[in-house]
Assembly symmetry: C2
Homo-oligomer: 376 residues x 2
């Protein structure tokens, strides 16, 4: 059966407060922030949410984090609001919140908007986009994408701009599908690891990160194919989040090869992608290999000077260094390449066969502006 027959969504944002609701019956897979301070909605899900779900309710504007017992009580109320309407157990409702930390939820406002959202649930693209818009905070655009192969459909929705860091971040993502595959749990975990967990916007890991995948399991399909499509969809959402990183003007990808191990490669990729000096250089369209080398050096990986560095974009590529020798004449070419809005940094360490990649965005005036003004 088509996913559109099973999935109903809507959302409304009013001032700073938004509510998104999705009604769908299926198995749910979830992964949450690794921050030790977890927001109340995550604590609620961890304690209550079963393997099957009937609906999801999300609010934006308030993270319901660092809110103590009252926060937990209000998270449950949010779930009850939806379970009463659907007529299901509160254990079949998944919830998420995003916004300011340390403020109690205004439940009345959320319920008032929620009633209107529930009355307007729909299955068309506009309804899905309304959901995506309602959960935005500092996002500049809604993030929705989909995949269709055979009878399998997959819809992905995400939000997240700041606080994006390795291993989940204030990022919420919702994937809905009708696929039935074996070992979905493992597929889901691997896909998250190869997409959202490669993303670093500012290195701050939020209290609220959540990825949900809900499947109606109506359409049997091949696990391998499904995993490829799911990873590709999540990667697309991750890059949308990077592109919308607070104040970002460019996305950049860091590819590391030739490390002693995959773990070492990952240390290098993450160090480069989170370096403020690399990020400002990307903003300044400056092929500043010195800062890249520096980040490689302090990454914690076993590296030496004899690395090769290359930058690439749709405008071409430039080798900046080959086994430790700098190609000064290519720096000007590098500047031209960095005019593109998506830049790749390739680092070959010549130490082994370890590989990794990471996705980030530049650090700009607007990041500072947004985050020095976005207030408590």
């Amino acid at each position: 059966m088509a996913l559109s027959n099973s999935l109903k969504c809507y959302g409304i944002k009013r001032g700073k407060t938004g509510v998104g609701i999705a009604v769908i019956e299926g198995r749910i897979f979830a992964t949450y922030t690794q921050n030790r301070i977890k927001a109340a909605p995550i604590l609620f899900n961890l304690k209550n949410l079963g393997k099957r779900v009937r609906g999801i309710i999300v609010n934006s504007g308030n993270a319901n984090a660092f809110t103590g017992e009252e926060g937990i009580r209000k998270a449950r109320k949010m779930a009850e609001f939806l379970s009463e309407r659907i007529g299901c157990s509160v254990n079949e409702i998944a919830i998420a919140s995003t916004g300011i930390i340390g403020r109690q939820l205004e439940l009345d406002e959320i319920e008032e908007i929620g009633r209107e959202v529930y009355a307007n649930l729909g299955s068309d693209a506009e309804s899905i986009e309304a959901f995506a818009r309602a959960i935005m905070t500092t996002d500049r655009f809604p993030k929705v994408t989909k995949r269709v192969f055979g009878d399998v459909e997959m819809v992905g929705i995400a939000k997240g701009a700041g606080m994006i860091s390795p291993n989940m971040a204030t990022m919420l993502a919702f994937i809905f599908t009708n696929a039935r595959v074996e070992k979905m749990d493992a597929i889901f975990k691997r896909a998250v690891n190869h997409s959202f967990n490669k993303l670093v916007v500012d290195g701050d890991t939020s209290t609220n990160d959540t990825v949900f995948l809900v499947t109606t399991e109506e359409t049997e399909t091949d696990g391998k194919k499904f995993e490829d499509e799911l990873t590709s969809l999540m990667l697309e959402l991750a890059e949308m989040i990077a592109r919308d990183g607070e104040g970002a003007t460019k996305v950049f990808r860091v590819f590391v090869s030739g490390a002693k191990s995959d773990r070492d490669a990952e240390l290098v990729a993450k160090a480069v992608v989170r370096s403020n000096l690399v990020k400002t250089a990307i903003f300044g369209k400056d092929p500043n290999f010195g800062r890249i080398v520096c980040a490689v050096g302090y990454s914690g990986a076993d590296v030496d000077e004899k690395m090769s560095l290359k930058i690439k974009s749709r405008r071409g590529e430039a080798v900046l260094a080959e086994r430790g020798c700098v190609f000064e004449k290519n720096i000007e070419i590098g500047r031209e390449i960095m005019e593109d809005d998506t830049v790749e940094i390739h680092i070959e360490l010549h130490r082994g066969s370890g590989k990794a990649y990471a996705i980030g965005c530049d650090l700009t005036h607007d990041y500072v502006e947004l985050n020095s003004k976005y207030t408590t």
Copy 2:
């Protein structure tokens, strides 16, 4: 004998290139960057420098890092330049460089300026300040301080604005003293650890960080007293560096107590001090406890929500949270407190007796401006 009789300094900065020379005979103690990619001057010192020194030569404008065999050869030439003039072994010369990574040194220019510097060496305060000015890169002011107790004198000089991070950073510091104490090596290491290693400007650990301490050992003194004074002098230099962090308008100190261990406390202090979201909030004078809580949570330390948070400055103090309860009414008072140019964040975790502190600076428009323009 007074230190001024033993120490001769001078420095000249011409355009982007600066040379500073210090001539002093004594024992030398050194500590270098933990970056795996070490600059040529550090590699030279590690290989050649003995326990005693006759002179130090430093250039600014070029880090002589990621410069291969030629870089090492040129580092040695720099040392030879000074050893020939003093008439000593090249193994009695310590060298340091700071500036752009990945460019070969212009030795002719350094030697030309160096000859003029050597001809003007002096022992007065102006000569010391000339040395401090010559080694500046993006620094906005020279960093010199001293301590005198009894017959013991201590002069400290530092540079460093960007790339300042845990465990050394593009920071050069030179301490000259006439003190003789037992176990100077251990005292030196502890003092560095309690001062420079608490400093995080942008989390990027440079390839060039160096701290030298040279002592003529002419004046015997008490080790404990000396260590206190040395630590205080280094802490003062560290705070000068933070205050001059690229684009910084404020210094902030993070004090963590009640952690399960000192190690946990340090993880928390470092996570808070390097969080871009906390740093922009400090810039925006925003007592954004949510971002602090978030950083505490992802620090890797064993923590929970029941923490207490307080901010302090010369303008007063405000408790923002007590054992997990937020004091919303104090947020406005917090804003007023954060008007000061030095702000303290106190975090009590109520989990044990572990303590730590860290020093940082805010993240501002000028940081982005400087670092997107400072070019390869």
